[in-house]
């Protein structure tokens, strides 16, 4: 199934003083894959992701994203990825249209391209009437959908989502995952962190981080078989307990 690896990580490590946040992790992610990056709070998920998107320097180890070394070619990496940060990553005091124009602009899109794209985006989300309203007026789930679409404006090869559905209701979460599926289908690689275990079931493969290390990495199905349980939640609990 794997054709090419768009993310390749080998022995990636990040230390903050004496504390090792990410401890020699290695994995690969193939094109078009939805890769779930799981772990309890403080397990090192966000730190690992920050190294991959080029805003945190690895202490040691190697990582290439979209074929570029995250240490040496940070700028190239940044151009090939989209990112949605934990919490919320757009401006509440700008209108939906302003947000799209702004982010399109900082990624260097041409004016006509921005116009075309934003029209499509707004249509897809069914937000025609809201386009010129302040984003702050939308419910959180909707904002997250807009943020996701905005992160895809510049046609990135990979999109990094850091807990995109935190605090969002189950129905909207479901819709959000449908959007993720659609994009993956188009060939975009999705790298998503979450601590909702039901969402882990939607991923092609998941890695579970415990205390800075990858404790397990496989398809949800294989993981459940291996640990002889019937939900990812139980897999997660078993792993966390084993370590303790």
């Amino acid at each position: 199934m794997k054709i090419e690896n768009v993310i390749a990580v080998k022995d990636l490590t990040k230390r903050f003083g004496a504390f090792t946040a990410v401890d020699h992790i290695s994995f690969e992610v193939g094109k078009g894959e939805i890769f779930g990056f799981l772990g309890a709070n403080g397990a090192g998920k966000t730190t690992a992701m920050k190294m991959l998107i080029g805003i945190s320097k690895p202490t040691s180890g190697e990582a290439t994203v979209a074929g570029f070394d995250v240490r040496k070619h940070t700028e190239e990496v940044k151009k090939s990825i989209g990112y949605m940060s934990q919490g919320f990553s757009l401006y509440n005091d700008l209108t939906i249209q302003d947000n799209i124009t702004f982010f399109g602009g900082i990624y260097g899109l041409k004016k006509t391209a921005i116009q075309e794209k934003s029209k499509l985006l707004i249509q897809d989300l069914g937000l025609e009437k809201m386009a010129n309203k302040l984003l702050g007026a939308l419910p959180l789930g909707w904002k997250q959908k807009v943020a996701f679409s905005v992160a895809l404006l510049h046609n990135p090869k990979i999109i990094f989502l850091d807990e995109p559905t935190g605090g969002v209701d189950p129905i909207t979460r479901r819709q959000f995952w449908e959007m993720i599926y659609r994009e993956a289908h188009k060939g975009i690689t999705v790298f998503v962190t979450t601590h909702y275990m039901d969402e882990a079931e939607y991923c092609d493969r998941v890695s579970i981080m415990v205390e800075g290390k990858i404790a397990a990495l496989d398809t949800p199905k294989n993981l459940k078989e291996h640990y002889q349980v019937d939900s990812m939640n139980q897999v997660f609990l078993k792993l966390a307990r084993n370590i303790e």
């Binding site: 990112y83 934990q86 919490g87 602009g105």
Partner: protein
Amino acid sequence: MKRFIGFIKKEYYHIVRDKRTLFILFGMPIVQVMLFGFAITNEINKVEIAILDHSKDVTTIELSNKIASSKYFEIKEFVANEESIEAAFKKGRIKAVLIFEKDFSKKMMTEKKATVQVISDATDPNTANTISSYIGSILLLYQQEINKDVLISYQIVPTTRLVYNPELKSVFMFVPGVMTVILMLVSAMMTSISITREKELGTMEVLLVSPLKPFQVVLGKVVPYIFLSVINAVIIILLSIFVFKMPVQGSFFLLGIESILFIVNALSLGILISTISASQQTAMMLSLMGLMLPVILLSGFIFPLSSMPVILQLISNIIPAKWFIIIIKGIMLKGVGLGYIWKETLILVAMTLFFIVVSIKKYKIRLE
């Protein structure tokens, strides 16, 4: 460049859509200039005084009239005896009491000498001082008037001329100070808050993941505030010229350039503050405590630096506002050119460069 314009546009929306920020940006300067210009003044005006006249003769009545007719004093009451002086003070309205001794005119004629006692309320030492010296000069004038024909040997007559602010208007002293405080506040506090706000909201991270370089992000946040601060400076200067009749003796061009220099200095301080504070609140506290107080107290704005302890005088040297106040006072009141203020200008330039270098260093560390 296109990306950059988009960035500035976005920043403009942030500012315009936030009514509170707008008010702080443009309401505060006007309110402050008006307050300092009209309300806060070192001059005395219509101070209420009382008179205890033990002689009630021609001279004392004439003197009382003289004092009452000056614009500085208003005679509120005539007290009957020493005991009621205390009561008059305690009521709080009266700031000074004049006591003419018994047989005032007679003593002047016979002994060539009569005494007036001035008692003033020193709960406010500055006012008390001013009152005594004003009354002193009124008495002196009267004395010169009656001695006109008499020739006194060996007289030293000081003729004083007050230059650059002959009417001793305190507003001339306050305008440069207020301008400094406002530019410092708007530039440093607003930028540090707006940068930390993005950090707090998490959008800073998104900007840093984008292909924009960190310095572009910072520059994009700062440029709109340069414009706003320049507008503010213009408003303050216009107000001081048209409302307070403050002269600008020197060149407007130089005044503009120096103001921009100071604005950039304050902005770089704001960036520095934002690199060391994680939240908007910390940034605000740092700007208020770390900048406002020194700017008001140690810049020579209100309290003269030359009468401060040596230690404070030394500390005042590291406060950019001190140098800027010297510069604008020089340009506006004395009409000096760059030849006289190049040293102060150079100090400001050096400070600005220092702040910028330090914040760039700090900024990089945060990204590691």
